[in-house]
């Protein structure tokens, strides 16, 4: 698989890469939503999951979220540490409790339920 750094675990640098996306809140103040997306390289499913997540967050959590992207190909040890089996896996680290959604998040309604994101 390609090692081309399409995804970067450092969320701050994602701003440059994602054109048109609203920049997440600056790192200085901790956003209330901390999401971790575990992917494996740039598989279509991973790309799709990221863009779907991005859309949801931008729409409902604008300015209140941070997406941490973890490429397990580059950091395989994190798979065990975070108990990842399926890819892609979205982990809602914050707010508590931890929630997990697996899949490419193509079903937006279900993704909202899975993330426990209550839309007003």
């Amino acid at each position: 698989m390609s090692k081309k750094p399409t995804f970067n675990p450092d969320p701050l640098r994602q701003q440059k890469m994602e054109d048109g996306a609203v920049a997440p809140a600056p790192a200085a103040e901790e956003p209330s939503w901390h999401l971790r997306l575990f992917v494996a390289g740039q598989s279509p499913k991973s790309l799709l999951a990221y863009s779907n997540l991005k859309k949801i967050c931008d729409q409902y959590l604008s300015g209140k979220y941070r997406i941490e992207l973890v490429d397990l190909i580059k950091e395989p040890h994190l798979a065990q540490a975070h108990q990842i089996v399926a890819v892609p896996t979205l982990v809602r680290q914050l707010p508590e409790p931890i929630k997990r959604v697996i899949g490419d998040l193509s079903n937006r309604e279900r993704a909202l339920v899975g993330m426990d994101l209550h839309v007003a």
């Binding site: 108990q83 089996v85 959604v101 697996i102 899949g103």
Partner: protein
């Protein structure tokens, strides 16, 4: 115990990986298919996980093949503890980077499925673990847990197929465990994906004794034992019977071992052969154990080691009982030459007994093994099975040059000259003890039915147990058969009387002859005197006769002279 060299396989491309599990490598002719996945299925508690753990630990320890254990059920702490009870220190292996344990937790409550996914995460974890220790062996225990973790079974199945393909591609010898399903080998039909080797473990209860069994359902490209093989789990892990394959090319010895009974040694032309197997069968209370105790005593006195398996009496009981006939088995125990192992035959199945016996024999390294009685073991097994196993035990002992003394209790109803376990054709020496009822008594008789390769007595001997041990008394043969007990004593008494009468008669005869001799001598004396007297008389006659003739001659001379003188005067 097991041969470590890899056995011949069907082709050069087909390699096998020894599991190190005793007995298993024998029935598979070399272990599991190397670099391929094997499915181990069975119901709960049949030992699947342990099989996997032992495969990894022995792989590391004996064949220097590091391993990875991916556990879907047990936590690493649990696994380490469970395996520690078998004497394996997993933490040390992990520390030495020989073993990696990855516990995969799938919490259904936390996970929501949404759209397409794959199990690349699992692949990455597995690859990471494999690379971290350079693993050659992998155990996935129990991968079926995935099925309860994910809704999308179609994805799961295709991912599992991919996983097994991936394992094969990487040349990892893998064990995949799975639960037994209804009507099929595994609940999720995993046998469909793992086509190389499928092993079925089973746990059955028969006659209130549970037996574990193992069967190789399928082993592509290899011959294998197709039977169900009993196996058991004890403090040393899994042992599959047969532990050793029965071979007939053992060495034999010309040496003799004393039976501890002088008369019996005579009957056997010097005792049993070293390393031979001896069967002693007889009905209850005929003194079988006592004969065994004598042999044990004699063996220990000769500074040899004896292992005594007792399935009826406790060691203390045996020591006390044999003490009353003058054998000090307790002293031999103290010296470490004799070891007793008592167990209730019903405590566990025959397989377990045999494996335990194997182990004790391996540990103690005896010169003699006594099994008292072997017939009790068969109650716990199905017919036919027991004899096969006992034959294996005998073969095992023979191959080690260990003398085996087996006691078989013949039931009251069954024919005497049968050994319940059909061992008679296998054993080298077969002796029989039986009761003879006569004159209101019950007496014991011992005889040798067969004894290979030695001249042996064809006599029935009466068998007497006294305070100084066993004696075999020469039996008297009367018109009604062998005389034993008081009949024999009566016969002995009769013979004694007859003998003393004979002696008296002889003495009388001697006396008479002496008298006659004395009379003859007296007669001879008288005759000699008579002869002397007659000789003297004869002499006397002789001398008087010569005197007379002298006188006559003298008178003639005188007459002559007279005549001459007268003539002169005339002229």
């Amino acid at each position: 115990m097991t041969s470590r060299k890899p056995l011949k396989t069907s082709g050069p491309a087909f390699r096998k990986a020894l599991t190190g599990i005793s007995g298993f490598d024998e029935i598979t002719h070399g272990g599991l298919p190397a670099g391929r996945p094997t499915l181990i299925c069975g119901s709960a508690g049949c030992g699947k996980s342990l099989f996997g753990a032992e495969f990894l630990v022995k792989g590391i320890r004996d064949y220097d093949e590091p391993g990875v254990l991916v556990s879907f059920e047990e936590t690493p702490v649990d696994i380490v503890q469970n395996v520690a009870s078998l004497g394996y220190d997993l933490t040390d292996l992990i520390k030495r980077k020989k073993l990696a344990i990855d516990h995969v937790v799938i919490d259904r409550q936390q996970i929501d499925e949404n759209g397409e996914f794959d199990l690349e995460g699992l692949f990455i974890r597995l690859a990471y673990a494999v690379d971290s220790v350079g693993a050659k062996r992998v155990v996935l225990d129990t991968i079926e847990s995935l099925f309860s973790g994910f809704d999308n079974q179609a994805i799961l199945r295709s991912e599992l197929r991919r996983l097994f393909g991936w394992l094969k591609e990487r040349g990892l010898t893998t064990i995949i465990t799975a639960e037994r399903g209804d009507g099929q080998l595994t609940r999720q039909g995993l046998e469909e994906y793992v086509s190389d080797c499928v092993v079925l473990l089973d746990h059955r209860v028969s006659g209130q004794v549970s037996t574990r069994r193992l069967r190789i359902v399928k082993y592509r490209g290899s011959t294998h034992g197709t039977n169900e093989f009993p196996f058991l789990i004890d403090e040393d892990g899994i042992s599959v019977l047969p532990i050793t394959t029965a071979a007939m090319d053992y060495q034999v010895s010309d040496g003799r071992v004393s039976s501890g009974i002088e008369e019996l040694d005579d009957m056997l032309d010097g005792g049993y052969y070293v390393g031979s197997s001896i069967l002693l069968s007889g009905t209850a209370g005929t003194g079988k154990s006592t004969v065994a105790a004598h042999l044990a005593d004699a063996t220990c006195k000769a500074k040899k080691r004896c292992l005594y398996f007792s399935f009826e009496e406790s060691p203390h009981q045996i020591i006390r009982n044999t003490g009353t006939i003058g054998l000090d088995l307790g002293g031999h125990v103290k010296k470490g030459l004799l070891e007793f192992h008592s167990a209730r035959p019903t405590a566990f199945g025959l397989e377990m007994h045999l494996v335990q016996m194997h182990k004790k024999i391996e540990q103690f390294k005896p010169d003699l093994v006594v099994v008292d009685p072997i017939s009790n073991l068969r109650h716990n097994s199905e017919d036919g099975e027991s004899s096969e196993m006992l034959i294996r035990l005998i073969d095992f002992l023979r191959s080690r040059g260990i003398t085996a003394f087996l006691i078989s209790l013949t039931g009251g109803g069954s024919a005497l000259e049968t050994s319940g376990e059909d061992l008679s054709s296998i054993v080298d020496t077969w002796m029989l003890l039986r009761d003879v009822e006569s004159y209101g008594e019950r007496n014991r008789i011992l005889y040798i039915l067969k004894s290979r390769g030695m001249p042996h007595s064809n006599q029935l001997r009466e068998f007497v147990i006294s305070s100084d041990g066993i004696h075999l008394v020469k039996a008297y043969l009367g018109s009604k058969g062998v005389l034993t007990g008081s009949a024999r004593l009566a016969q002995e008494g009769r013979e004694q009387i007859e003998a003393s009468a004979l002696i008296a008669q002889e003495q009388m005869q001697v006396l008479r002859i002496r008298q006659r001799q004395r009379a003859l001598e007296a007669q001879m004396e008288a005759l000699r005197a008579e002869q002397l007297a007659s000789k003297e008389e004869m002499d006397r006659i002789e001398s008087s006769r010569s005197e007379r003739s002298d006188l006559e001659a003298a008178s003639l001379n005188a007459m002559g002279r007279n005549r001459t003188r007268s003539a002169k005067s005339k002229s």
